[in-house]
Symmetry: C2
Subunit: 307 residues, 2 copies
């Protein structure tokens, strides 16, 4: 199995290394970390049973045109933020038989790629993981690691199932999802309140947010469920309750959007909130809480550009 | 006319000085600025036709119990924020014939005072003004100055009209309002979006907020109008349009809530938003945008206490 991972951040490095440990032939495309990864490879320090290990990609390239053969799978592991040219990054990597695998947060992030590569299999994936790049080539895997993978817009192909099996053998949970769009909405139920509220509050943890404003959190979650239902992806009726319960049980958590905000990096505002709001509006679902939070995030981003 | 002004901030100093210039016998109750005001009085620097002038109160006290006679009017000019003990401040100031005049922002701020002083006339007032206390006893009046005064819960008494006339003669506009509660809702239409959005955005001006998120601003304004209507104080049908138009025409403005936030002072979150939300809920009016903004302000305040 020949794999190219685009993005040497935490997610790409971690999942790429798992496939390499199972014998896949894994190359990486890196930008800012190119020199380091080319020379030294990547150190993974996992606090789970995966332990500490070293991952040396078969090849490290700056651009996919440097590769001599087209991969069976290309894993695009970058955040969907403004100015991320996903089609441009994939262009030279994709051959006629290449399956494109997207591993990133957000709603409705597949359509652009499906339109640009109409003849390639498209696998959409979600990672439930705490993992951080602490320095070039240094990855700290704190907890979790589950993946959900499925073909876009639906179904699970043989190639998707084969990838899923290889991840399973590597020691994480990988769920093959027949309706990956529903899985995205399911994840959005949690992301839509906690990510923006952590930023707009000025840095509160999930626990502080939930323990003081549970009705507001629930109102946002319920709107996300209503959009999912209206667009043909109904979520289980206990979805909101389960998200609330499990968040109360989690240790106080700093969301990824807050981490990006504090580091001065672009945030997934459009992928998580903007796209959800647009789908909701198109479907005619009333989403006043979601729209309020989205509008406020746009104002916060506008202000940040001036700071 | 014997007047006691409670609060030597910008609003109390400015309006107290106007009455003194018309011949009223104006005393002041001050806390942090007591020494300075007692020794030096107050300098008012107005950018309007009022010009620069000095105001020396008849008496300056720390506590109303020091006064030898009860005033005809006591002007309570303090912000309605947590830990502001308005009843305690008024207690020693109020005699049987004293009219209590509240000059502060917010919704439903009269009830507590009406219940504590059921036998006193209660005049409720709103100031439309840009005025700042730049140092103890130094007041900078930048623009505007209009007052709206009326008895609570409604009507205009002779004493209210007399006070209004004296303010009019001093060179500002003072409107006697038969329905001061409606006037409070009218002012809330502007305050409810711009004050919290300026804080939650991290410091945007009214102009930046409006020019990028006009539909969101309108949605909040419309909910305020709906509460006013549902509680018997319908506002003119063009209220939202007029507020939007006039804000576009204003120079970019930094809201009072943002000024308080940046100075680390308590904000009028409950007076402006919390009370409006509670009245709206009680009346059964759907107010999801207002509730979202209120919830976010409570999160922002929670975070600030930890900062």
């Amino acid at each position: 199995m020949n794999v190219l991972v685009i993005g040497s951040g935490a997610v790409g490095s971690f999942y790429g290394s798992l496939l390499a440990r199972q014998g896949a032939d894994v190359s990486m495309m890196a930008r800012s970390d190119y020199e380091h990864v080319k020379l030294h490879g990547i150190d993974i320090a996992s606090d789970t049973k995966l332990g500490h290990y070293h991952f040396r990609p078969r090849t490290v390239v700056r651009n996919a045109s440097e590769l001599t053969e087209k991969p069976d799978y290309v894993l695009l592991c970058i955040k969907v933020v403004e100015h991320a040219d996903r089609v441009g990054l994939l262009k030279d990597a994709v051959g006629p038989e290449t399956s494109i695998v997207l591993i990133s947060n957000g709603i409705d992030i597949e359509d652009e790629i499906a339109k640009a590569f109409p003849n390639n299999e498209l696998i959409s994936g979600l990672a439930f993981i705490c993992v951080t790049r602490t320095a070039p080539g240094k990855i700290w895997h704190q907890a979790y690691g589950r993946l959900a993978l499925g073909n876009y817009p639906q179904g699970v192909s043989e190639k998707a199932r084969a990838l899923c099996s290889m991840f399973e053998r590597s020691g994480i949970t990988c769920v093959a999802s027949e309706d990956i769009v529903a899985a995205r909405w399911q994840k959005c139920v949690w992301n839509a309140p906690f990510n923006p509220l952590s930023v707009l509050s000025g840095g509160l943890s999930t626990n502080d947010i939930l323990s003081t404003q549970e009705p507001f959190v629930r109102a946002i979650m319920e709107e996300v469920c209503r959009i999912a239902e209206a667009t043909g992806h109904p979520l289980p009726p206990d979805t909101v309750d389960k998200n609330i319960e499990s968040t109360y049980k989690m240790p106080p958590y700093k969301t990824s959007m807050l981490v990006d905000f504090e580091a001065g990096r672009p945030m997934e505002t459009e992928a998580i909130l903007g796209n959800a709001v647009r789908v909701g509006r198109k479907a005619g679902v009333p989403i006043p809480h979601l729209e309020s939070v989205y509008a406020l995030m746009k104002l916060r981003e506008l202000r940040r550009r001036a700071e």
